[in-house]
Amino acid sequence: MSTILAVLVDGVIYASWLFVIATGLTLVYGVMRILNMAHGSLYALGAYAAASLAGAWLRAGWAPMGSYAMLVLAALLVGLVVGPLIERGLLRFCYGRDEVVLVLVTYALFLILEDVIKLVWGVESYFIYEPYGLLGNVEMGALSYPVYSAVLVGAAVLVGVLLRIGIYGTRYGKLLTAVIHDREVSAAMGINVNRVYLVTFTLGTMLAAIGGALTAPTVSVVPGMGVETIVLAFAVVVIGGLGSMQGAALGALIVGLVRSGAVHFFPQVELFSIYLVMALVLAVRPRGLFVAAEARKI
């Protein structure tokens, strides 16, 4: 019984983390048709920035609670600086090209960012465990979880709710939906598609960075940390359906539960259970759970 509870709780925590990252990936794909292979590196950038900022804050001896603000600030900074830099400096020269070419472009970007991180932060690991332990633990039956994990889940829910409101409840969200639906018509209707792209990519970067910043206190921040994250996020969005928000949520939940189930019951399959699920889903639903395959009109 308690094992099942543990599987569920672990799964949900893991899913929250995945959701925040995957939702950025799927947003960028939905609007811009770019499957961003560098998304994992943006996640890593968020983690590094958070480790640096929160680390500096704590070393200065200021109120430890402020370190949470530093995590968020780091993510926002990465989003606002790196996002526009990449979109204006590189991606905008590639619009209109094949989706696969864009995958290759972002793969090249991934390679570059991996080394940029090493050049800026060096190759040693960073640790900022304080924010993780600061809030204490919460008991759930025989199990004990750090309250920080609840913060993670809360953050994911908040991100989901804000995005929903943003997309369905605001004027900007309507523009976004219009561009997703048909970019030529949107451009003809006078929507500034370029600005929509800039905002979208900035938002996507920010979401990756938030994922990284919130993870920073729970792991050691090391070079290459984005390499595995990106393929996990791929699995999530492909399962849910590329470009679908609900898909990202469901995909994250599936992957989260599958992984925590595997960790508890079949540890030897942990690493590939996720990809197995992804392959199975694609075998049945070629475009993922939330996207229907469409026939070409001739």
């Binding site: 696969v100 290759l104 793969y107 991996e114 590939f272």
Partner: protein, 314 residues
């Protein structure tokens, strides 16, 4: 002269030069060229896929399958000679692709790329957890003989190098011939317009499946050759970043010539050994920038520079 004859002649000359140069090359250079050829084999398979309009971020799967098959074959089946080991590597990878192709051949574009990646990560996960195959550490692989010559003998030292060169020659000539056949010429047709190919009476899925198997066989041979040259294999060979490197070579080389992937791979290995010595933390940065430059300014790959010059000359 037909383009096929010209390519065969060119590759034949290259093979001859490689043979004549062998005694002059230092040991590290022999090793570098062997590894480059092995990786070039994988990139050659990608060339075929790219001509079919597909990019695979999972060729590491077949690369690793070939390497592990060669390694397991040498131990379990007691294959002492390198030739059957390489053969086994190629066949195993082809068999894996024949199976996975049932699913993969239904996908295109980014879905194909991602599903290939997922499959390679499944193999990676399996290998890491299989202690009989050395888990994360992998295990050592060695052949006792090459073409019947003991590895330690004077001639045997060049054995793996020669084997790699012959494999590359055979694969490149064979692929060139295939690409010129009616069947091979369906590849660009499928890339351009699948619907029309179906309406001309051919099964696109079967063609993609076939090309997938051919590409996998080449990657498997490349993996087995790598195992023999390095003397060691580990699960990293199946990791997605390994596949990414093959994509890098393929993009750099373009799809214009069957010789280009080998040239591209040699270039990559030279740059890598140079970078590792002088600036180990900027190697990926250099690779990424080179790749961006090629995609943005030379969409048909570096090889297209030669082609343009030739066209201008005629």
């Amino acid at each position: 002269m037909t383009s096929f004859r010209r390519t065969t002649l060119g590759l034949g000359v290259a093979l001859l030069v490689m043979g004549l140069a062998a005694p002059l090359l230092p040991k590290w250079a022999l090793f570098l060229v062997t590894i480059a050829i092995a990786k070039g084999m994988v990139a050659l398979g990608l060339l075929l896929l790219m001509r079919t309009g597909l990019v695979s971020f999972g060729q590491g799967l077949y690369f690793a399958a070939g390497a592990y098959a060669a390694g397991v074959g040498s131990q379990a089946l007691d294959l002492g000679d390198a030739v059957p080991m390489v053969l086994l590597g190629g066949l195993t990878a082809a068999a894996v692709a024949a199976g996975l192709g049932l699913l993969l051949a239904r996908y295109r574009a980014i879905f194909f790329a991602m599903l290939s990646l997922a499959f390679s990560m499944i193999l990676y996960g399996l290998l890491v957890k299989t202690s009989a195959l050395g888990s994360t550490d992998g295990f050592n692989v060695a052949a006792r003989t090459v073409f019947g010559l003991p590895i330690g003998s004077t001639l045997g030292r060049y054995g793996v190098y020669a084997l790699a060169a012959l494999c590359a020659f055979g694969a490149a000539v064979g692929l060139d011939r295939y690409l010129g056949s009616y069947l091979g010429r369906l590849a660009p047709a499928v890339r351009d317009n699948e619907l029309r190919v179906e309406y001309m009476g051919a099964s696109v899925r079967n063609l993609v499946h076939l090309n997938l198997v051919i590409a996998a066989a080449m990657a498997g041979v490349g993996g087995a050759l790598t195992a023999l040259a390095v003397g060691h294999i580990d699960p990293e060979m199946a990791y997605w970043t390994t596949s990414g490197e093959f994509v890098f070579v393929a993009i750099l080389s373009g799809t214009a010539s069957v010789a280009a992937p080998f040239a591209g791979a040699v270039l990559l290995e030279l740059l890598r050994s140079f970078a590792y010595e002088h600036a180990p933390n900027t190697w990926q940065l250099v690779m990424g920038s080179a790749m961006l430059a090629v995609i943005l300014f030379l969409p048909e790959g570096l090889w297209s520079i030669f082609r343009r010059r030739r066209r201008a000359a005629t």
